[in-house]
């Protein structure tokens, strides 16, 4: 059941991405991107990253995607033939992309990602280097609380009672703690970056003032 859901999300993700990358109509692409984002959010959930899944849905689907669709609408009229963009049949790019895929797969699953290991019965077998990760037990939906507590207590001493929320199934607390502790500086920098980017985007995108407007603004100042 769990696997099936994973595969469904994986399929939604990959199919949406494929349509996004290939479909000639930009509106369809944007719509397919929505599916991809949703699928990815699902995958997040499957990987115990619930906070991130919510963030994904909010920021991507509610923000970035809407922004992209706004962009589409600002640069194209719906009926315009320009919307239909020749998206396909660029063999070189396709080959490059497939090559990239091959490289990535090779890197993830190829010989460099494997090593020889002697099994218990004395036979030598080639096993993936990720095997130790995969061997980690699938901890269902429950975050390994003990592990986290152990890590945190190692750093900051014994956690307070309030923070050990029994039965709490989420990472929000943990993330919030970390953002304001270990990751405070990156957090602040990112927020400033975000601010600057938004101000800059506004600056770039704003309409050039006409000479009259400029004169008016100067006189006002």
């Amino acid at each position: 059941m769990f696997d099936l859901i994973f595969y469904i999300f994986a399929f939604i993700t990959v199919a949406g991405a494929a349509v996004t990358a290939i479909h000639r109509n930009i509106v369809y692409s944007a719509f397919a991107l929505l599916f991809t984002f949703v699928g990815v959010a699902g995958l997040y959930v499957m990987a115990n990253a619930d906070f991130l899944a919510v963030t994904q849905m909010m920021v991507y689907v509610g923000g970035i995607l809407i922004l992209l669709i706004f962009g589409v609408m600002l640069t194209n009229r719906i009926q315009s033939a320009n919307i239909v963009v020749n998206a396909g049949s660029r063999p070189v790019v396709a080959i490059l992309s497939l090559g990239l895929l091959a490289i990535l797969c090779a890197a993830f699953f190829g010989p460099s990602a494997t090593h020889s290991e002697k099994s218990k019965d004395g036979k030598t077998a080639t096993v993936s280097s990720w095997s130790n990760y995969t061997q980690q037990p699938w901890a269902a939906t429950q975050w390994n609380k003990d592990a986290n507590v152990r890590i945190l207590s190692e750093k900051y001493g014994a956690p307070s009672e309030a923070k050990t929320h029994e039965g709490s199934s989420g990472t929000s607390v943990e993330i919030g703690k970390l953002l304001l502790s270990d990751y405070l500086l990156p957090f602040e920098i990112v927020s400033i970056v975000l601010l600057v980017a938004l101000v800059g985007a506004t600056m770039i995108a704003r309409k050039e003032p006409t000479p009259e407007e400029e004169a008016l603004s100067e006189s006002l100042s």
Binding site: F2, T13, V14, A17, T20, A21, I26, S29, A30, L33, T36, F37, V40, Y44, A49, L52, T55, V59, Y60, I64, L67, L68, G71, L74, T75, N76, V85, N86, A87, G88, R90, V93, A94, S97, L98, L100, L104, C105, F108, F109, S128, Y133, T134, Q136, W138, N148, I151, T171, I175, L178, Y183, V190, V193, L194, V196, A197, L198, G200, A201, I204
Partner: protein, 102 residues
Amino acid sequence: MTIGLNHYLFISAVLFSLGVYAMLSRRNVIAVLMGVELILNAANINFIAFSRFGGINIGGQLSSIFVIVIAAAEAAVALAIVLNIFKNFKTVNPADADTLRD
């Protein structure tokens, strides 16, 4: 086969390749931006996967959060640029905006 790290990695690889394909082949700057988003998502999937299955635990999720923030900023700035390009070149085809050649 139990869903493991490899599955995530594969999905991320496919997503990354598709993103690259979209980024290189599309004739619309916004579609290119969509490709960029796909790539960022592929990266995020990797972070999450290693966070879940690797040894980095919650750090991977934090990195993903930063990536999402950066992506949002990128989208905003990129769209502003796209609007300017459209204003100046009367096109959203990145191939037509090739004044960099000169």
